[in-house]
Symmetry: C2
Subunit: 373 residues, 2 copies
């Protein structure tokens, strides 16, 4: 099949409002709006693939930066590619590595050619270009791969953001030129900080290059909810109605709702698993922290009525005990519950869009949910 990738808008406002859609890939379809759990080093930490399926996960993300360093893209390819390595036969997305170079690596040096940095693991010098980032992602073999971008920090001087946009645009074009697998799609990332004209220019020029999907990047770097909404107001409506839109690194329920309202389809975020590993569990009433003494004799599940494998079998007091003694099952159980919280939240929002009642459902969720920050 020359192209197993399709995007359909199933309901809602294809152009600029909440929409429900379906992204088809060679490894199956993703019903959107959808949440993408993060499996940085080819595993969603502590969670088996069958458990991901059981809690309704449709697609997972892995990090090019981490896998390029360990075990290396050639090893992943030799092992049968990322689907084989992750034990996951559903859709996979890899990011470009750009974000991690800026957030994790040492001694970065950026030129028009690419990024030179030192590995955060052993200090080894690595040179990453649009061409090599694409080649690495071709070797890893995810269904959706991302063009190498430059993610400026927040706050950031305007001239630096402008330079990042200039390079992000040039690099997206170079990635597109070398991308060679037709069983993968290459999406581009809109940068531009909180500068309206730069965001608009970046979106428009990437759209002119005709990528099959677009991400909004450079958010979740400290800009806050209001700025995120502004960035989406400037950007999302410029992205084609007939292509998927992906907001990178955003998962806080309030942000997700605001982004769906502005036409975003896909979201990845470490929050459910990172919070899970820290004993912080999502519930409809807000976050609970399971290390607290108050839970020591509490036999109730994290969220009464929840159908996840954690809540069906384990009480809060047990999970607290596992964290107190340092048992792996503590982080595992709360990660599983939090993933289910996210897939259920997205399921509710998806249903609401399909039924034409997104705003009332979103408001009901926000009224009940106390927030997590």
């Amino acid at each position: 099949m020359p192209n197993a990738f399709t995007w359909q808008t199933l309901a809602g406002d294809a152009a600029a409002g909440p929409r429900a859609g379906r992204l088809s890939t060679p490894h199956g379809a993703v019903e959107t709006p959808a949440f993408i759990p993060v499996g940085t080093r080819a595993t969603v930490r502590g969670v088996l693939p069958e458990t991901l399926r059981a809690v309704g996960v449709q697609i997972v993300l892995a990090n090019t930066y981490h896998l390029m360093l360990r075990p290396g893209a050639e090893i992943v390819r030799d092992l049968g590619g990322l689907h084989a390595v992750m034990g996951w036969d559903g859709p996979i997305l890899t990011d470009s590595g750009g974000y991690q170079v800026f957030s994790l690596a040492n001694r970065r040096d950026v030129t028009d050619d690419g990024l030179t940095f030192r590995s955060h693991i052993d200090g080894a010098e690595v040179f990453l270009t649009p061409e090599s980032a694409t080649a690495v992602q071709n070797a890893l073999g995810a269904d959706v791969i991302m063009a190498l971008d430059i993610c400026p920090p927040y706050p950031c001087p305007r001239e630096e953001v402008a330079e990042a946009v200039r390079r992000t645009l040039a690099w997206a074009d170079r990635c597109r030129t070398v991308h060679e697998r037709d069983d993968q799609v290459l999406w581009a990332i809109v940068q531009g900080g909180i500068e309206e004209d730069l965001r608009r220019r970046c979106a428009e020029e990437l759209v002119a290059m005709d990528f099959p999907g677009y991400a909004v990047g450079g958010v979740s770097v400290g800009e806050g909810h209001e700025n995120l909404c502004r960035v989406l107001d400037w950007t999302a409506s410029l992205l084609p109605a007939d292509k998927p839109r992906y907001l990178m690194g955003v998962g806080e329920p309030r942000d997700v709702i605001a982004a769906i309202e502005r036409g975003v389809d896909l979201f990845d975020c470490v929050l459910p698993t990172r919070n899970g590993r820290n004993a912080s569990a999502y519930t409809d009433q807000g976050m609970i922290r399971l290390r607290n003494e108050q839970f020591k004799s509490d036999a109730r599940p994290i969220e009464p009525g929840c159908d996840c494998p954690t809540c069906v079998r384990f009480g809060r007091g047990t999970i607290r005990h596992f964290f107190q003694v340092g048992e792996m099952l503590g982080p595992i159980l709360v990660s599983i519950h939090n993933l289910r919280f996210f897939t259920r939240l997205f399921g509710r929002l998806r249903e609401a869009v399909r039924a034409g009642r997104f705003r009332s459902e979103a408001q009901a969720i926000l009224d009940r949910y106390a927030g997590t920050d």
Copy 2:
């Protein structure tokens, strides 16, 4: 039901040779010979209860010593008992705590009354008596609980072993007197080191007290395979043909086969999970160490043909990667495979006993299996 516990010999030599049986408990039946994975702190480390079921685990063990210290027996009782805490609705066995006091605790002091020791966690002084060990196990709520015993080290002066036997006998009688739940059975433990007359005397006197099941303890402390066989030769045939026999802390395949040959039904051992956490995987040809460089591009499962959730989805190179980067999934995946190796090994041996071909099957396993020590 006054007594949901029954023992049936289904095949083999009930008195002194290999036998297949069925132990029924209020939480279901255990087909024997059976392996009991160790869930020290109320969890088999990193493995969800549904995965234990999926790999054929029938019964699990938890440690009274650890649970008494954290979270405490009252907390476990308040949380609904050990079955609720472990999320496991099958049979559970708790040991008495005696072995751990000798292997883990500090500043032990033994009198006829009981054991005084300091917790290995915070140094708190704890006094454990036959009465309190039984009360703690009554509160924990396992199906099978064990009488408090004294486990001498190896080697050990004969007079110390004799004293341990004397106290173990007196304590078994006191445990029997105070044990109060008829939905639990209390089994006694035969001690006596490698002293034939002490082993025999301990077995005979415990049998005279008419416990519903018996364990052979004080092994796997460094005495070696030949001594283990001698201890079983002296002891097992003295234990009643119509009651279950449990060998504590033994799981090395060669030892298991020798013990089944001598009439043992149940075995607990940390080997599959402890080795799993260290990247050592059991195969029919012996142990493989998955951290080894040789596996880095090896896409084959740990054991080709194995039906476990690990081997069905993951290759050796992936598992090596998880260990190299410190991902939880490494220890989890090898623990799961090793548990399946053990349940399959026991299943083969059980079938062989039922079919009257135990010795040939055991020889076939030993011929193929290179050993792990």
